[in-house]
């Protein structure tokens, strides 16, 4: 039995969401402290106008920013078992989930959408840090798989945008099992001969970096994003050394050969459009080529 068989065919629904934050609210830049008005932040894609710091973005904002004319269709994410371990720390996980759902209006930490980027059809799966730190449990795994499979059905490139602290502890070992499950999703896209592009946003760590986020055919990061496996604090406590400047930041990873590109938010859409154009010419053109790619990634 296939895991997809217990759910209905993903419903497509248009999403038209306008910001409901009043223009006169302001935020301090978490990096330089500059007072930034929401109106200006919106216009500047949530990048600090003074220091260039890339503030975290909600998943739907990211998607809106990347698709042509901000138009896209969100794809319903599959249902998942709620609180499989009946986990309870100082608070019940079930309660934490409901709170996060109420605060974000999302079912879980991931949004799936399809649309066009520079005229090329693409499927995007975007994690939202606002929802329990973008952590990956069964629901995120299910949705990621559904996204990959939608991309395969559409013969479209699959783009994963990560912003996550890692696996969701409250789902215990089942959260860890989302590493192999999302890797399988990547394999399915690869075997279909389609491009899989990752956009690593702040932060991308733990089980998310150790699975789908680090397996992109092309790996792009936003400037200044924290990307790594272990948390900086854990590393410091383990080795009792001060960490080098810029450690685990995008630029540092780029320097160490772990990323293809570090791209400012304003350049992300044109960069993706260009890549889709370049890769689109050959991808999926021959299933023989796809099989060869699959055999030796």
């Amino acid at each position: 039995m296939n895991w997809l068989s217990n759910l209905v065919r993903p419903k497509l629904r248009a999403l038209v969401r306008k910001t409901d934050v009043p223009d006169n609210l302001w935020t301090n830049c978490p990096s330089c402290g500059q007072m930034l008005y929401h109106r200006d932040l919106e216009a500047n894609l949530h990048v600090c106008s003074k220091c260039g710091h890339h503030l975290r973005l909600r998943a739907h904002k990211r998607i809106e920013m990347l698709f042509d004319e901000g138009r896209f269709e969100t794809v319903a994410t599959p249902e998942a078992l709620v609180d499989p371990l009946r986990f309870r720390d100082r608070k019940r996980y079930g309660e934490r989930l409901r709170d996060a759902q109420a605060a974000t209006g999302m079912a879980d930490a991931i949004v799936l959408a399809e649309g066009t980027i520079g005229g090329h059809i693409a499927v995007i799966a975007a994690l939202d840090f606002e929802f329990m730190g973008g952590s990956m449990g069964v629901a995120v795994g299910n949705a990621f798989l559904a996204g990959a499979r939608l991309a395969v059905r559409r013969r479209a490139p699959f783009i994963a945008i990560s912003s996550s602290g890692g696996a969701r502890m409250q789902e215990g070992i089942l959260a860890l099992m989302q590493l192999p499950r999302t890797v399988i999703a990547v394999q399915e896209v690869r075997e279909a001969g389609l491009p899989y592009i990752t956009v690593l946003a702040d932060p991308t760590t733990g089980g998310v970096s150790a699975s789908f986020a680090m397996l992109g055919d092309i790996a792009i990061a936003e400037p200044g994003a924290v990307i790594g496996f272990a948390g900086a604090r854990v590393i410091e406590e383990t080795i009792r050394q001060t960490l080098p400047d810029g450690f685990q930041r995008s630029e540092y990873l780029h320097e160490h050969g772990m990323l293809d590109l570090v791209v400012p938010r304003s350049e992300l859409k044109p960069t993706l459009a260009r890549l889709l154009r370049l890769l689109g010419e050959s991808s999926g053109a021959s299933s023989e080529g796809a099989a060869r790619l699959a055999a030796d990634p």
Binding site: P84, I173, V183
Partner: protein
């Protein structure tokens, strides 16, 4: 327990003289010990299991290989940067079958623990594992992985050389290998560092081993804001072999000798040898494409079944 064992030791010493009373007393004390061990180990708490799983005298990778694998030939290096002693691997024969076997080595003495970095691998370890899995596939050999790690090493070099990428690729390779892959959690199955080697066709787990997304201490310090709550975290994480089986994460529990694998390593090692041999026999007739498809389907099912 320690008291009873001291008494037994003393009696055994005396029984050298063949005194019949002493021999009887030895029998009585021994059965009291067994009874107590049986009672204790039948209802170990999750936290106690963590302690047993981490017991320094528990058999490690080298002990299993030393007993079970003939013609053991260690193979080193990732061909990219270095050799990682936290993950060992090589060729040999298990019960007459040529295999590639690899796993985390924690080390038995203080000196060896340092040498093997307490079983915490750097990227080179996962890349070596990946290289050996690919080699196994090339020569149509089954792969055995033994998992026993607190987790991947959190360090500067490890991060610089792509710890996350190395783990992700290792999982990718486990899932793609076209020969049988049998994994066994023999002690601690610590998070990403464990699943990097454990995405197999069959996953076995020793009775008192643990498998978790995060260490109980780490979980407690984040969710309870205090590492002192590790006992609570261990319970909440459901990290025992018995819970793993209920969740469909593992396929088989390998019983440990009374009182844990460290009490009778030889028995524990042979039991795992039998279980590995059995699992390999059940997979031997399947061809590569079928194996890969079944393995993927197995992981796709995970998380569709909870404890409720």
């Amino acid at each position: 327990m320690a008291e009873l064992e001291a008494r037994l030791e003393e009696l055994r010493h005396l029984s050298g003289g063949g005194d019949i009373d002493v021999v009887e007393e030895v029998g009585r004390v021994q059965s009291r010990i067994d009874r107590q061990l049986r009672q204790t180990y039948a209802k170990l708490s999750a936290w106690q299991k963590v302690q047993v799983a981490r017991h320094p005298e528990r058999p490690h990778f080298g002990d299993y290989v030393g007993t079970l694998v003939e013609d053991w030939t260690p193979l080193a290096g990732d061909r990219l940067y270095g050799d990682d002693s936290a993950i060992l691997g090589g060729l040999g024969r298990l019960r007459g079958r040529t295999i590639v076997i690899m796993g985390h080595e924690k080390g038995a003495s203080t000196e060896m623990r340092v040498k093997h970095n307490f079983g915490m691998a750097h990227p080179e370890g996962y890349r070596k594992a990946r290289r050996l899995m690919r080699m196994a596939e090339r020569f149509r050999l089954p792969v055995i992985t033994l998992v026993d790690t607190p987790g991947a090493f959190p360090g500067i070099g490890a991060e610089e050389r792509g710890q996350a990428e190395a783990i992700a690729r290792s999982i990718d390779t486990c899932l793609g290998v076209r020969t049988p892959l049998v994994s066994a959690i023999i002690g601690e199955g610590g998070s990403g560092g464990a699943i990097a080697l454990a995405a197999g066709d069959a996953v076995l787990m020793l009775e008192h081993a643990v498998y978790s997304v995060i260490s109980p201490e780490g979980c407690a310090s984040i969710l309870w804001r205090s590492a002192d709550q590790a006992q609570l975290a261990a319970e909440a994480l459901r990290l025992t072999a018995q819970d793993m089986q209920k969740l469909g994460v593992i396929d088989e529990i390998v019983p440990e000798p009374l009182g844990g694998a460290h009490r009778e390593p030889k028995t524990a090692i042979e039991a795992l040898g039998d279980a590995l041999d059995g699992a390999l026999s059940r997979l031997a007739h399947l061809d590569g494409a079928v194996l890969v498809a079944r393995r993927r389907e197995k992981y796709l099912q995970m998380g569709q079944k909870g404890l409720g």
